[in-house]
Subunit: 485 residues, 2 copies
């Protein structure tokens, strides 16, 4: 048995209240209190007493409410507040919860909180954290603070922090945790139970014990469920499972998350190239990965660069969004030049100017439907090379039906409205062709982005709209110029 029962377990208690609805009510109450207290921010920050009796009562009320919240709930409260109110809440949070809360908030909010703390406050906040947690925060902390925090740890922990920090955010190594229980294969289950009893507490989410040899090479896992029903005399090697889902620290976290989803895992071992056990992944980290991944897809499609602090200062928000707006402006300018090229036609038939956004709009909408569906299927790993061409065929079929159907509807309306069969027919043709274009490009954009190793969701909504706008104008005005003039 290689690990001694020496783990410090840092874990917040589950909340005292159990009703799901109560949290929402608490949030409303906290928001209301913060708004009232906002003008007193300077006094609260300076620690000077507040003269107004009513405000003092509210401050106490808020402090009590916050002290009853789980750190994860405090994190959500902080996310949902504008800067000054956020700072008030952050000042009132119990210092011993600071570390946990910092772990729970988003990167952008974490930055604003860390900025408001001095070195000693930061050191106190991270003093209780595990190696993997410290590593998670390290990138956002001042170097000096990380350096001093590491001095207080033993050599093994320092090595763990450095190992965890050496991985990219999207690698398993970055979410790996070092607290685990391991045993040898040649002992009886009874001995394992006695061994476990020597721990003060077991690491979070311990659903299995890792079975290793004398060199820490992973031999199998002993699920606690099996341990509990096993004959106490039985040897671990006869009870353990050997067909184990294992990960390497450089595996992609999203792929690891898919494996957790597929095989309903709670924890899984991480091994190095020599099959040596170096850590484990737990479901709570995986749940965060799944949430962040889906959010990232959604934000990326809309052209938002990263998770944005809801109440970021205006200029930060502008910076976060400028790139896709600029790209959009360029593509809109291109579309504008396409129209410019047909100014002669529009001068002659001004109805074209009114009808052209319909052609562009339906293409954009339909293209977005296609691209969203494909990005989703890619996120769960359902699309490979061969499938893409089949999907393209199907989407083109859908576009053809929709084009003829809605094109005819619009063509009929245009015919009646402008009393010109020609305009009606050009509408049918242009809408059908633009929907076909939207389907084709809607499949190609994510497939090409994926093949190029980029996130298929990245700005895909902006890109498809660019194509269907310029393409739609070109097709419609081009057809009109050829057939109507």
């Amino acid at each position: 048995m290689s690990h001694e029962p020496e783990h410090k377990i840092h874990e917040a208690a589950e909340p005292a209240e159990s009703d799901v609805g109560r949290i929402a009510a608490d949030f409303d109450h906290i928001h209301a209190l913060c708004e009232i207290l906002e003008p007193a921010f300077p006094q609260i920050e300076a620690g000077t007493p507040i003269e107004d009796e009513a405000l003092r009562v509210k401050l106490t009320e808020l402090t009590v409410l916050l002290s009853e919240l789980h750190p994860a709930d405090v994190a959500d409260v902080l996310e949902s507040l504008p800067q000054r109110e956020r700072n008030i809440v952050w000042l009132l949070v119990a210092p011993e919860d600071d570390g946990e809360v910092l772990l729970e908030v988003s990167d952008s909010v974490r930055e604003t909180l860390i900025e408001s703390m001095d070195k000693d406050e930061l050191l106190a906040a991270i003093d209780d954290l595990d190696a993997d947690e410290l590593a998670e925060l390290a990138d956002d902390l001042p170097h000096q603070v990380v350096y001093e925090a590491l001095q207080t740890r033993d050599e093994e922990e320092r090595a763990q922090v450095q190992a965890a920090m050496s991985y990219e955010d999207d690698q398993v190594g970055a979410i790996m945790d070092f607290e685990l229980v391991s045993i040898r294969a040649d002992v009886a289950c009874e001995v394992v139970l006695r061994y476990l009893r020597r721990f003060e507490s077991l690491p979070d989410h311990t659903d299995k014990i890792f079975v290793v040899d004398e060199n820490d090479i992973l031999k199998g896992v002993l699920p606690i469920r099996s341990l509990l029903v096993a004959d106490p005399e039985e040897l671990v090697e006869n009870v353990m499972a050997t067909d184990v889902v294992r990960f390497r620290p450089d595996d992609n976290v999203e792929e690891a998350a898919q494996a957790f989803e597929r095989y309903d895992l709670v924890t899984a071992p991480v091994i190095d190239e020599n099959k040596k056990l170096i850590g484990r992944i737990t479901i709570d980290e995986i749940v965060d990965v799944i949430r962040e991944e889906s959010e990232a897809d959604m934000l990326n499609m809309a052209g938002l660069q990263e998770e944005e602090d809801l109440f970021a200062p205006i200029l930060d928000s502008v910076k976060n969004r400028w790139m896709w707006l600029a790209i959009n402006l360029c593509t809109a300018f291109l579309a504008s030049r396409v129209i410019g090229a047909f100014e002669g036609s529009i001068e002659k038939i001004v109805a074209l100017a009114a009808l052209m956004p319909i052609v562009a709009g339906i293409g954009g909408n339909s293209g977005n439907q296609t691209i969203t569906m494909i990005v989703r299927a890619m996120a769960v790993g359902q699309i490979t090379g061969i499938q893409a061409s089949k999907l393209l065929k199907k989407e083109v079929g859908v576009a053809l039906v929709n084009g003829v159907l809605w094109g005819s509807v619009m063509g009929l309306i245009s015919w009646v409205l402008y009393d010109s069969l020609g305009i009606g027919l050009v509408m049918v043709a242009a809408m059908t062709l633009n929907l076909l274009l939207a389907a084709t490009v809607g499949v190609l954009i994510p497939v090409v982005l994926d093949k190029a190793g980029r996130d298929p969701a990245l700005g895909s909504s902006v890109l498809i709209t660019a194509v269907t706008d310029s393409g739609g104008f070109l097709i419609f005005l081009g057809l009109a110029t050829i057939f109507l003039l």
Copy 2:
């Protein structure tokens, strides 16, 4: 101790291979084999021997590959295949895995699979399922099959199936599971360990044992982690946790998922109004809820009604998407009439036709950024009434900066391009105003949808584009008509 160790545990073994990458390679291989075998579908379906030696070899190869896959992987393979190839794979899947696979596939694909099976096949497939699993499938199965399947169950199970079926898909009752271990508070930990040893196996994800009184009223939970380190002589009531996160069967599953995320739960008890323990929720169901919820938001924003079978027949896809396309067409028509109202102005200054999509486009893009951010924040419960007005203020600020900034860039370009300072100034003003409109409506749409009890993501992307298109044309052409003519 109220529950006897009589649980049948139906659980697929973890996959033999552990490398994350291997699954993707297998999928590619399976896709390639399916494509080769597709022409032989009639023989495979009829069960007649295939003459072609090479095809027979491929068929065996595919059968072996599939038999090595976990049911969850088989489900993913089925999702990613066109109809005929999907049917081939489904015919080759071992009948004992059929039930598990049906549970794993999406609703739309499940329908296609069930349609291809006769009554006896269906009965065989669901024979092994637990009460909660049977309830999950029941809606999609023919009534006669459900009826006959229920006859083979004992009364308790029948009651469980009916209870689970009585809840809506978004209620905790629908994902609740009835397999759990419960004990009394006044026994020693050692007795609990002996009791557990009498089980053949424990329910999946058993991380805690539920402590109840003689009326099954929930008194607390005994985490296995605590049981393992507890003094064997100690009574359960001294070790158990009483501050438990509990759910009611009519709680919303998304709120339950948020609680699981916040408090890092693996399982949680479900109680009725008298605090009687009636079931539990497990993290694997919650992971599915989180994934589905994020996907639904993404699909809803793009105007897709529900999770669509990637290879649905073309007409099914058309049906799935027609509503939002129709809405889009209506809003595009409205925008077109706005332009129509200014045909006189466009006839005089044809440049207006070329510039107006830029104003509309940037509004749509920026509005989508705002709305996406807010839908995301709402999904994690960060936005309440008071916050909405503050967010509005912030988004309007961002829009003002972006409007003046990008408006000036575009204004300058238009001035140079059309050699008209007036056109340039109208561009600046129109872009700024449309961005302000986009920000306002981008905050209001999800907030109003949410207040009205609707999903804030529902078609929000289509709606915001509608507003920024019509609004953009109106603002730009209106300003041009007033100041340039």
